[in-house]
């Protein structure tokens, strides 16, 4: 285990930021700490990095008790949401910083910087100042700088949070590829479930200072431990006694399937390739949300006021509204 967090707690006055956190992050993996803002995930990351101290508990990095070590002795790379590049230094100088602090020979520093700039595709910008780079380039620079000191773990705090959607998507894929290349144990914090599902090997869901669930993206999506995880990983709607995902609802224009729920289409919103329906169901206060592909919607010839019959798809992940702890899989 590369990082071992045991019983970590942190308070800010009355506010409990972290409450008895226990988690092991295996070597070489890409782990996401996922959760809503203010849930404690960034605090946990900063405690692992030593930028903040825990009130209780311990942190081991690569088998060494790092609880009391200052950040500069932990050999971790840290990447901030707002890049934290050194504005007065050139791109190359930024990357060289950690190596120069370690008093490595000049030739070695030069070679390493060139190698890293190559890796993050910034070679042609080596002599520019960070102010001449775009947001995405700055974040790649920050990554190269963190990797330069060959950290035992790489920690990223909402690394793509300040970038626009397009760049974020690109960098996300790029981070995944980079990780497959360099294989350094990586932990990144995000509040974007899509980002976590797409990039991470393992996801730790943190909410209100507590870990809700740890698992692979598939486990989390298919077998959410509770209502919160299910709701956080994607849209959730209610159909009769079940809570399930809007795309897990089958729509029919005739009462064919036994036990299906009749309703009336109140609203149909087209977003790109999908159609989002709001269906009023008698005897249920909140309307049911249904998502289906545009092709499917067209085939059914749906319009406002259409009568439809709804039923959960075979194999849908659903949680009983009455609060069953384990999700159940709807059988045919």
């Amino acid at each position: 285990m590369s990082i071992e967090v045991r019983g970590v707690g942190k308070r800010y006055g009355d506010f409990v930021a972290l409450d008895d956190i226990n988690v092991s992050l295996p070597t070489g993996q890409l782990t996401a700490l996922l959760g809503p803002s203010g849930g404690g995930k960034s605090t946990l990351l900063r405690i692992i990095a030593g930028l903040e101290s825990a009130d209780s508990g311990s942190v081991d990095i690569e088998g060494v008790d790092a609880t009391k070590l200052p950040p500069q002795k932990r050999n971790v790379g840290f990447v901030f949401q707002h890049y934290a590049v050194f504005k007065h230094m050139t791109v190359a100088k930024n990357v060289a910083f950690g190596l120069e602090i370690r008093k490595r020979p000049k030739a070695e520093v030069k070679a390493k910087v060139a190698e890293l700039l190559e890796l993050v595709h910034l070679s042609q910008f080596a002599h520019r100042l960070p102010s001449q780079l775009s947001g995405g380039q700055r974040q790649r620079l920050a990554l190269a700088r963190a990797l330069a000191v060959e950290p035992s773990v790489l920690l990223l705090d909402e690394p793509f949070g300040a970038l626009d959607a397009q760049v974020r998507k690109e960098l996300r894929e790029w981070l995944r590829r980079l990780h497959d290349e360099v294989h350094v144990t990586t932990v990144f914090v995000t509040h974007d479930q899509e980002e976590a599902l797409e990039v991470a090997d393992e996801i730790v869901v943190i909410n209100q200072g507590r870990i809700e669930q740890i698992g692979t993206p598939d486990q989390l999506y298919d077998e959410p431990a509770n209502d919160f995880v299910m709701g956080f990983l994607g849209a959730v709607t209610r159909l009769g006694p079940l809570r399930l995902r809007p795309h897990d609802i089958e729509v029919a224009v005739s009462p064919g399937v036994p036990g299906s729920t009749p309703g009336v289409v109140q609203r149909a919103l087209r977003v790109g390739f999908e159609v989002r329906l709001t269906v009023d169901v008698p005897g249920q206060e909140e309307p049911v949300l249904v998502v289906l592909s545009r092709t499917h919607a067209r085939a059914l010839d749906l319009e406002l006021g259409s009568r439809v019959w709804l039923s959960p798809t075979t194999g849908a992940t659903a949680v009983s509204v009455l609060g069953l702890a384990r999700p159940e899989v709807v059988s045919a």
Partner: protein, 281 residues
Amino acid sequence: MAETSLRARRGPVTYLLRTFVLAYLAVLVVWPLWEVASRTFAPLEQGAEAGLGAFLERLQDPSVTYAFGLTATCAFWAVVINTVFGVGISLLLTRYRFPGRRVLSVLVDIPMSVSPVVVGLALVLAYSSGQGWFGGVLESAGIFIIGSTPGMIMATAFVSLPLVIREVVPVLEEIGTDAELAASSLGANGWQTFRRITLPSIKWAVVYGVVLSLARSLGEFGAVKIVSPGAELRGETATILIQNRYTNFEEPTAYAAAFVLVLASVLALVVVSLIRKEDRS
């Protein structure tokens, strides 16, 4: 957009305002200073010589060179002390949370609001050998603060203390701690982080504060006057010299010294505006 439309509007009110502001500045600043300059080179007093040569000659009087030398010494040490402590206190105020932080922040501003004369009196009360709290102890150690150069340096430093801090604190707050934390996670210790990351970021604010402190220190009168013996060639700084000569009917020398101080502050203003430009680029 609003700003441009405001600037573009040119009615009678605009011209009236402009005339008023210019007249105000002329009456309050330009005309009096012009008088100092013209009296420097063309004194009205009987028997006083006019011209650049006479001006330079007056400045070469031993008591005048002594006074400017003393002013320079006081200003230099006060600025050195305030730069070191100013940056230190600024870091303390912005980078650490401790009980009494806000009190310290207010205390730092006191020299700006308290009259310099009061500052001088306070120093006398604390350090004079007769009645001062520390004076007796220091005297027995052979150190005299009041009535000597250290006391005048202290008075000058006290008065110009907030200038560096008030320039540096906002910049430190603006740049935040991310870059410093990044440096420490890359292996830099506290001093390395300060030297290589923090200091380059606040460089211009420090220089700006130093120039302001220097200008303030060169012109300090009230506080220094109280702690200084204030006699010719004995604790007489440039400002005290101006006062003494003026009251002793040696106005031409007073004007000459005053003109040099005006030149110094104009120079400081030019430097400051150049720094501003540099800082923005």
